[in-house]
């Protein structure tokens, strides 16, 4: 259970645009354990999606992985040739994308799309067997009338159904790791509950490791075992979920928790927004990238980037409040 399934070391991803070089990911380190649900939290633009796409080497141009190492089940992914990485995608690592609307090709039946990984990775003898497996797959993701639905086209299905098809595609080859990139962002709350329930169920049944990328702290609290908080391309805090919410150490984490409207709080408790905006990553602030917005900023924060230190067992922060100068 404590075995590591994924490790990212010193990842740097830059985007080369006409306006300049966007230093989207600047030195990210994390490790995910087998069987756990790992949450990657951050706002739009913090780089969580890009980090996950790096794991399967699908960073869209003009982005490029500049440096770093990614080990999946011991394999050095970044040094593998494309043909080898392709063998991982869909087969060992399933990726659930954010927008079910555009993730499905409107010209093909959904059953075919969900079963395509099986064909590509040679896990079925022929198309007939694939269709048989797809019906079972749809049953697993709780699509009612799986046989009929598998013959439908994407536009004939509702948003919730489409997202289940996307999930089905990701799990079709029973991967060891599932990366879910904002799987419920554009979906209704009640459908979201169903999908999260499904993901929990799948984890229970197959023991799959799940990396959940989201900006919703509530989902993280509900689903994840350990959480990493990202800001402007860097990980600022990493802890187990109870510690993170009970005892947030990084000012950004604290800020986020106080800025989110929580249904249990009364109207009278005012939200505390984090002043300022996300920095321009072409000219990121020197030192700690959060310092322009931090109420506890010190001189050193403006000069040097704080290292990640273990403040409590399994609770890491990258902040000068805790690191020794």
């Amino acid at each position: 259970m404590n075995e590591e399934i994924l490790r990212i070391e010193g990842l740097k991803v830059y985007f080369y645009t006409y306006a300049g070089v966007v230093k989207a990911i600047e030195g990210v380190n994390l490790s995910v354990r087998k069987g756990e649900c790992f949450g990657l939290v951050g706002e739009t633009g913090c780089g969580k999606s890009v980090t996950m796409r790096s794991v399967i080497k699908l960073v869209p141009p003009p982005g490029r992985i500049v440096s770093g190492k990614i080990y999946f089940e011991g394999l050095d992914v970044l040094s593998l040739p494309e043909s080898e990485v392709r063998k991982l995608r869909g087969r060992k690592i399933g990726f659930i994308v954010q927008e079910p609307m555009s993730a499905l090709d409107p010209l093909y039946k959904v059953g075919y799309q969900a079963g395509e990984p099986l064909l590509v990775h040679g896990l079925v003898k022929d198309v007939k067997e694939m269709w048989k497996r797809v019906v079972n797959l749809f049953k697993t993701v709780m699509i009612p009338e799986p046989k009929e639905r598998s013959r439908n086209y994407p536009h004939e299905l509702s948003g919730g159904m489409k997202q289940r098809v996307v999930i089905a595609t990701a799990i079709s080859c029973v991967p060891d790791l599932i990366i879910a990139d904002e799987p419920t962002t554009n979906v209704d709350v009640t459908i979201q509950a169903q999908i999260l329930d499904l993901l929990r169920d799948l984890r229970r049944k197959y023991g799959t490791t799940l990396i959940l990328v989201t900006h919703n702290l509530g989902i993280v609290a509900e689903m994840c075992d350990r959480v990493a908080v990202m800001y402007a391309g860097q990980i600022v805090e990493l802890a187990n979920v109870y510690d993170l919410f009970k005892d947030p150490l990084h000012p950004y984490t604290k800020g986020l928790l106080e800025a989110v409207p929580i249904i249990t709080k009364s109207r009278e408790v005012r939200l505390k927004p984090i002043p300022g905006t996300i920095p321009n990553l072409i000219r990121p602030p020197p030192g700690c990238r959060f310092h322009p917005r931090c109420s506890l900023v010190a001189e050193i924060c403006k000069r040097e980037r704080p290292p990640m230190v273990e403040v409590k067992p399994e609770h890491y922060v990258a902040c000068w409040l805790y690191a020794k100068r």
Partner: protein, 324 residues
């Protein structure tokens, strides 16, 4: 407090056409009635397809109703013409959800904000100074006057949209998911700003959102919509502490709460809804929610429950509470 807005039996059907003839109707809003008091923030909550967006637009008469009335300061909005209609538009404004398509990409910020003033030919003194004062009120600077929308972030654009809505000095604003497209930290800034504006300028809001937590934070009164009908209305606290309608209960239990202990404890009691949200084209007979309701009784399948008051301004439309 007198009701600023009274909605009475408002109906809006959108015809569904195949080729030339109408094969059915989308029951977007189906006989909705409620009041909005002056100075309050009235929250309208519901999932996609419930009709809340349509309702917001109907109240401002951006679409014509199929039936029903909306009284604004005692006058029926749908009967206004000419100058009176323009006067109404001056007093009632809207802020849309999408900050990216709400601003004409070819116009400069100054023109965008000043346009309403020009259209209504109001005298506000020096145009530039007026617009700058609006910008400063929403937290922007005069340097932003002569820039184009694409140079701004989502949060800033939303501020521009709000500044423009304020240009006519309205007394009522419909806020249609104003922060749904924004990040958490920016959302908090905008929400607080909206609250302050309400207090400072004595505005009345209709706040539409699918995010219950946000609606709870902003509103005094909340109405829950499902498939074109209002199923529950109560004060913010009441709705949260004592949700009566099964759908409201289901909604609340589905919201993930950012507290791991609480969240996991709730998981036990969560009511996972069955099935999909049915299409508003052929709503189920009787109570619209009955196919997914864990408490559905016989009568629920046959007759629509009326919206009745069960205490202190708390109204529900459910056979569990209505007398047969």
């Amino acid at each position: 407090m007198k009701a600023l807005i009274e909605v009475r039996d408002l109906v809006k059907y959108f015809p569904v056409k195949r080729l030339f003839w109408t094969v059915g109707n989308v029951h977007a809003v189906d006989r909705v009635s409620f009041d909005i008091l002056k100075g309050e923030c009235f929250g309208l909550v519901g999932e996609s397809g419930c009709g809340k967006t349509t309702l917001g637009r109907l109240i401002l008469r951006l679409i014509e109703p199929t039936n029903g009335k909306v009284y604004f300061q005692g006058r029926n909005v749908f009967e206004l013409k000419g100058k009176e209609l323009m006067a109404f538009r001056r007093k009632a404004q809207i802020v849309f959800q999408d900050p990216f398509s709400s601003l004409d990409p070819r116009m400069m910020i100054f023109d965008i904000i000043y346009e309403p003033v020009r259209v209504h030919k109001i005298d506000v003194g020096n145009p530039e100074e007026y617009v700058i004062s609006l910008l400063e009120r929403v937290g922007l600077k005069k340097e932003h006057l002569y820039r184009y929308p694409h140079e701004f972030s989502g949060g800033q654009r939303q501020r521009i949209v709000i500044a423009r809505a304020l240009a006519l000095r309205p007394i009522f604003m419909v806020l249609d998911e104003p922060t749904s497209a924004l990040d958490v930290s920016v959302q908090a800034q905008i929400l607080n700003m909206l609250r302050d504006l309400q207090k400072d300028l004595g505005l009345t809001y209709l706040f539409i959102s699918h995010d219950l937590s946000v609606v709870r934070y902003m509103s005094h009164t909340i109405a829950v919509m499902y498939l074109g009908k209002i199923v529950e209305i109560a004060s913010s606290e009441e709705v949260f502490e004592k949700p009566l309608h099964p759908y409201t209960q289901m909604l609340f239990s589905a919201i993930p709460i950012p507290d791991p202990e609480v969240a996991r404890a709730r998981l036990e009691k969560r009511i996972i809804p069955k099935g999909e949200v049915p299409s508003p084209i052929n709503p189920p007979p009787g109570c619209r929610f009955h196919p997914r309701c864990p408490y559905a009784m016989d009568i629920c399948k046959r007759e629509e429950p009326p919206l009745i008051e069960v205490g202190e301004g708390h109204k529900v439309a459910c056979w569990l509470y209505a007398k047969r």
